[in-house]
């Protein structure tokens, strides 16, 4: 055995995390008045095609200059009240968190990633034993190390569709027809 420490197993996030994990400003990764702000949004659907209203998405991405160091301040707390304090309005932390709403819809506001054409997404939900990783590509890249390995149908599930007002649509289908490509690493 090469690795002495056995990993702690994952368990489902369950249905009742909503009073604990989502935070004010969680979806607003971009500084508020930044001119390059984009919206990334979509729906999450289950294997019956029904919207998943109790999923949590986390987004991790490089800064526009390609930096991957991130910065603190994604989930700030107010030391006076102990309540979520939102972001400071100017720092790009690279990390966002957003729950789906009653329609199964989510949206984040961010800046285009630099040095990589995608934002990384971890999806948590009741009924998922592990988080599911996927990527929302906001630029198609014929040389991308992952996209080149996928057949066209599967590949298309990772491409966010550009719409008006700098909004990109990225739906996630957990199961069945049009099932999103989910990733593992290592």
């Amino acid at each position: 055995m090469t690795t002495p420490h056995a990993p702690t197993p994952s368990q489902t996030i369950g249905p009742f995390y909503g009073h604990a994990l989502p935070a004010a400003g969680g979806p607003d990764i971009a500084p508020l008045a930044h001119p390059d702000r984009i919206t990334l949004h979509g729906y999450v659907y289950d294997g019956a095609g029904d919207p998943v209203h109790d999923a949590l998405l986390e987004i991790w991405q490089p800064a526009p200059d390609g930096s991957r160091t991130g910065a603190p301040g994604s989930l700030r707390r107010d030391p006076v009240t102990g309540r979520p304090a939102g972001r400071d309005g100017v720092t790009f932390t690279g990390f966002g968190r957003v729950p789906t709403d009653a329609d199964g819809h989510w949206a984040i506001h961010t800046l285009p990633p630099g040095g990589a054409p995608y934002l990384s997404i971890a999806l948590f939900a009741r009924g998922l034993l592990n988080q599911l990783y996927t990527r929302a590509y906001v630029r198609d890249d014929p040389d991308d190390a992952l996209l080149t390995t996928l057949d066209p149908g599967r590949r298309a599930t990772l491409l966010a569709q550009a719409g008006p007002h700098r909004a990109y649509r990225f739906d996630i289908r957990l199961q069945g027809e049009g099932e999103t490509v989910f990733l593992e690493f290592g």
């Binding site: 702690t8 994990l21 294997g47 991790w60 990589a116 990384s120 990783y133 593992e184 690493f185």
Partner: protein, 234 residues
């Protein structure tokens, strides 16, 4: 008509399956990414603005004391090489002592506690150690199958040094008779791996005339290692 006696009395039958898996588990295989430039090999960072010193004490978030058995839960967060995960965010959420979440969709007929919300967070220290003071959560009924009850548990969220190390899981209490009956705990099919989700009572962590102590150490890896023992998954 009598049923034949089971031949293996030490191995009780597995609990019914976790029902919510059915429409949410992907059918396709996970696509393995081996790109050393993958963004997921880095991850978010947190700092002192993301927590306050009181966030780790769930018993002091309201004007009064919550009802229940006060506990302290602590442990170390490490990677598979044993290196401490330093300065990272740990989040905890749970029911109150009666087994109810402060969440409007939880309508389990148990009382809410006005002095307990059940959410906490802290940063790991230089040793990778986290610590919370809270109250012991209660068991609760759910509708997975007839007479289904979840054992008392704490939900935990951990960030590692890479996005691939992200871990959301649940901690259980030793000696709970409901552990053997829980579809969620048994969604981890390996018995040895399951045992790693059960904390140890540690009398040295108990604070005299104040709280009972539990130790629960955590090792971060990634999702691919969660259902299998070493060697099976990779």
């Amino acid at each position: 008509m009598t049923k034949p006696l089971t031949t293996n009395l030490t191995k009780p039958p597995s609990p019914p399956p976790y029902r919510s898996l059915k429409l949410r588990t992907p059918h396709g295989p996970l696509v393995r990414v081996r790109d050393p430039e993958a963004v997921e090999l880095t991850g978010p960072v947190f700092g002192v603005t993301d927590v306050t010193p009181l966030d780790g004490d769930l018993t002091r978030q309201h004007t009064g004391d919550p009802i229940g058995e006060r506990i302290t839960v602590t442990g170390r967060v490490r990677d598979r090489q044993g290196r401490p995960v330093r300065g990272q965010l740990v989040e905890l959420w749970q029911t109150n002592a009666a087994g109810r979440y402060a969440h409007r969709r939880d309508q389990h007929p148990a009382p809410l506690d006005p002095n307990f919300t059940g959410c906490g967070r802290c940063l790991t220290d230089d040793d990778g150690t986290y610590a919370f003071t809270t109250i012991r959560p209660g068991a609760y009924a759910w509708r997975n199958h007839d007479n289904a009850w979840r054992p008392a548990h704490l939900h935990f969220s951990f960030f590692g040094t890479a996005f691939t190390q992200r871990l959301v899981t649940q901690m259980y209490f030793p000696g709970d008779p409901l552990l053997a009956l829980d579809p969620v705990l048994h969604s981890v099919t390996d018995e040895v791996a399951r045992a790693r989700l059960v904390a140890a009572y540690d009398h040295d962590l108990s604070v005299p005339e104040w709280s009972l102590g539990y130790r629960w150490d955590v090792v971060l890896d990634g999702p691919s290692a969660t259902l299998f023992e070493d060697g099976e998954a990779r």
